[in-house]
């Protein structure tokens, strides 16, 4: 199917009005009712972050540590420790040496799953207790404001006429941008030219400088550049439109089934007692409901999504299958 730009814009406007309400509904997460735990930590807790200081995961961990202290959820000090390197491989290898120690927790995002799938890590999600998922990040397709592509359809048409002629900038193989590229190629039957930059910031710079045609950052990373008229958002790669971006149609609405969300959560070492796990589940559920955490999510453009216990394990297992399929298709999954 193909849309004219004018028609797409019109449809987009109508859908924006309709989808505002359901978009709200999807963020309403069930708060589980958990019994109190009889165990609690008796020495300082180490909060391991798989990325270096100042990045998204680091701020996620530091915000949570702050809330845990301020609300008395954990009455011992919670010390954030950065163990960056190897896209998470260093941090999770370290965590795997902490079996049975309830005084260590760690942050986990998509690299927790994608790095082991690529065979770069000796441990995988099955070696840990997947304590909780707290939020998800969305992705938006942006082009330079001076670009001729008004919609994703325009861009796909151009790519169809000129295989490999449309450049998409991303941060590394197997990253969110790479997955979006792959899904879009598959959904539209096109061939894009994927250029790997070092990080999301560099890809945005390349987009502004006209060195690539498309990038897929988080909405929060692109918000100001879009608002200032430097970039144009042409598609949201989420299942439904986002509350804060009612005018940006999803890729699905434009006829390309490309969705991607990446979670942020917390894991525990294996071999803990039920009581110890219950304690941490309680902390996560209470933390999720604080105003500070809600403000953090809003400031960083993250969508709240709470899953603990069995639900969390199931979510992580599903995500693992999803990534495995895509990375295998990209030819970078380790063969078994």
């Amino acid at each position: 199917m193909s849309f004219s730009p004018a028609r797409a814009a019109c449809v987009a406007g109508a859908l924006a009005f309709l989808s505002a309400v359901p978009a709200l509904a999807q963020s309403g997460t069930q708060i589980p009712d958990l019994p109190e735990s009889s165990w609690k930590p008796d020495k300082p807790v180490e909060f391991v972050v798989q990325a270096s200081a100042g990045g998204g995961s680091d701020i996620f961990a530091r915000t949570m540590a702050e809330i845990m202290g301020k609300h008395g959820l954990v009455d011992v000090p919670v010390n954030v420790v950065n163990k960056s390197g190897g896209s998470g491989a260093v941090a999770y290898a370290y965590m795997s040496t902490k079996k049975g120690d309830p005084h260590v927790i760690a942050t986990a995002t998509s690299s927790y799953l994608t790095t082991p799938i690529q065979g770069h890590s000796p441990v995988s999600y099955k070696d840990f207790i997947n304590l909780a998922v707290l939020c998800v990040e969305d992705y938006v397709g942006v082009v330079n404001a001076e670009s001729p592509y008004q919609t994703l359809t325009d861009l796909v048409e151009a790519a169809r006429e000129n295989p490999n002629g449309i450049r998409i900038g991303g941060s590394s193989v197997g990253s969110s941008d790479n997955i979006i590229e792959n899904r879009l190629e598959k959904a539209a039957g096109i061939q894009l030219n994927y250029i790997v930059f070092q990080g999301g910031g560099d890809a945005n710079a390349a987009l502004l400088g006209g060195n690539v045609d498309l990038a897929g950052p988080n909405p929060s990373e692109a918000a100001q550049l879009v608002e200032a008229g430097r970039l144009r958002a042409i598609a949201m790669f989420s299942a439904e439109r986002l509350e804060n971006w009612p005018d940006v149609p999803t890729a699905r609405e434009q006829g390309f089934d490309v969705t991607l969300e990446q979670h942020r959560g917390v894991i525990l070492p294996a071999d803990l007692t039920d009581d110890q796990v219950l304690f941490w589940q309680n902390v996560m559920v209470k933390l999720f409901q604080t105003d500070e955490f809600k403000k953090y999510l809003e400031d960083n453009g993250l969508r709240p999504l709470l899953k603990v216990g069995e639900e969390s394990e199931q979510y992580i297992a599903e995500q693992h299958e999803y990534y495995k399929e895509i990375l295998t298709e990209l030819g970078i999954a380790k063969k078994e």
């Binding site: 270096s52 200081a53 100042g54 990045g55 998204g56 680091d58 701020i59 530091r62 915000t63 702050e66 420790v81 950065n82 163990k83 960056s84 390197g85 190897g86 896209s87 491989a89 260093v90 290898a93 690529q118 770069h120 890590s121 000796p122 490999n164 450049r167 590394s172 193989v173 197997g174 030219n193 994927y194 250029i195 790997v196 930059f197 070092q198 990080g199 910031g201 560099d202 945005n204 710079a205 390349a206 502004l208 400088g209 006209g210 060195n211 690539v212 929060s220 918000a223 100001q224 550049l225 608002e227 200032a228 430097r230 400031d299 960083n300 970078i332």
Partner: protein, 499 residues
Amino acid sequence: MEFGDLLLGFSIAFTPTNLLFAFVGVLLGTIIGALPGIGPSAGVAVLLPVTFGMPPVTAMIMLAGIYYGAMYGGTITSVLINTPGESASVMTTLDGYQMALRGRAGAALGMAAIGSFIAGTISVVLLMIAAPPLADFAVTFGPPEYFALMVLGLTTLASLTGDSMLKGLLMAVVGLILGTIGIDLMLGAPRFTFDNVHLLDGLDFLPVAVGLFAIGELLYNLYRPVRAEPIKAKLSGLLPTRQDWRDARGGVARGTAIGFFVGMLPGAGATIASFLAYATEKRVSKRPEKFGTGTIEGVAAPESANNAASTGALIPLMALGIPGSGTTAVMLGALTLYGMQPGPLLMSTHPDVFWGLVASMYIGNVMLLILNLPLAPVFASILRVPYSILIPIIIGVALIGVYSFENSLFNVGVAVVFGGIGFVMRLYGYPPAPLVLALVLGPMLERALRQSLQMSLGSPEIFVTRPVSAVILAIAAAAVILPLVAWTRTRLAARALAS
């Protein structure tokens, strides 16, 4: 820019609270920069929670103070004990440490402070008057331009080779190969990682540099004491002289220009800026043979450059919300934490933050000059401690500094191994500087080459059809060909004379 904006800025920066936190920032920055390992990006991140609850402008004033303060501080350990406090100070060890061995540590530190002050202040002026257009120019730098810049960097490596050109080039090749260790960004293939998770991201520059320079030097001293025992010069004689200033001012000017330009490019940074500044200085100098033996301009140029670069890196951050370095990436995170959206609208939606920060940077640079100039002789007096007592102190601080860089014992091991390698290299006259610099340039060079050819679908024309890339490559070609022509001419003239 309007004059009213700057007045607003100064009215904000001159409030007692903001003055106090500017001072706290530059003081902490000096300390953090001086400690090996903990660099400005880790320092800013560690102290980030302290700023919660402050007004955003105060927090940014303090964090920026840490950033450019660290550039002043990094000089201290480089000059005094041959241990670069952060990666942008490696070039300073080459001549700074030689000056210290000759009893001129105070002059080196003093000139570094003056050069940093001048570079910092000029860069703030540029940041103030031209941030948006400069940022727009900086983002047009794509892979072909970075490739050209790295090629230019490689051509200047020849100027760092010391006694034997061949050995220097060989060490550069070793550095380039070490730079390929880790997961290849383009295809995700591991290279030379030997199934070690710590090698997936490659060798970090800092443990290698601390190993080769600081630990290698200490081991060589254990092998054969080289250092003249306690330096007995008078404190008053330790500051830069009028002659020093005459020698260094050209280096300060060129260092500032190069540093600012390279610093504002999101893919380059202060380390490369200081490297290019040093190499340029050696090339234009009338006494290039003296470089590496303790020339004042060999200290002034890279120190001015790294300071200018730290201010230049704020340009894409403040004007576009794009971080140009590890430290500005942390500051970007900080802005979000304070509830601001970094980006092109920041200057109009939060003028107080932008102009308050700019004004505070003028004040902060003055503070740093006042702080560092009188302290230079005091720091230099550390060298009066017998060297045999300094050895355990330096080795302890260097090892823990390397650990704290990424909380990694593996990095400490890397530093120890490269300490041993550095000792052997020193013993047989292989220079370490080309190795560490090739280690920095190599990954960027390779990435830019592969990105460029991927962009052009394999056509190498992309390097010459883009004007900026073509111009930089032409400069690089000239940098190789002109000395060769001059050399051939002197040889021919000598032969003509002989016959």
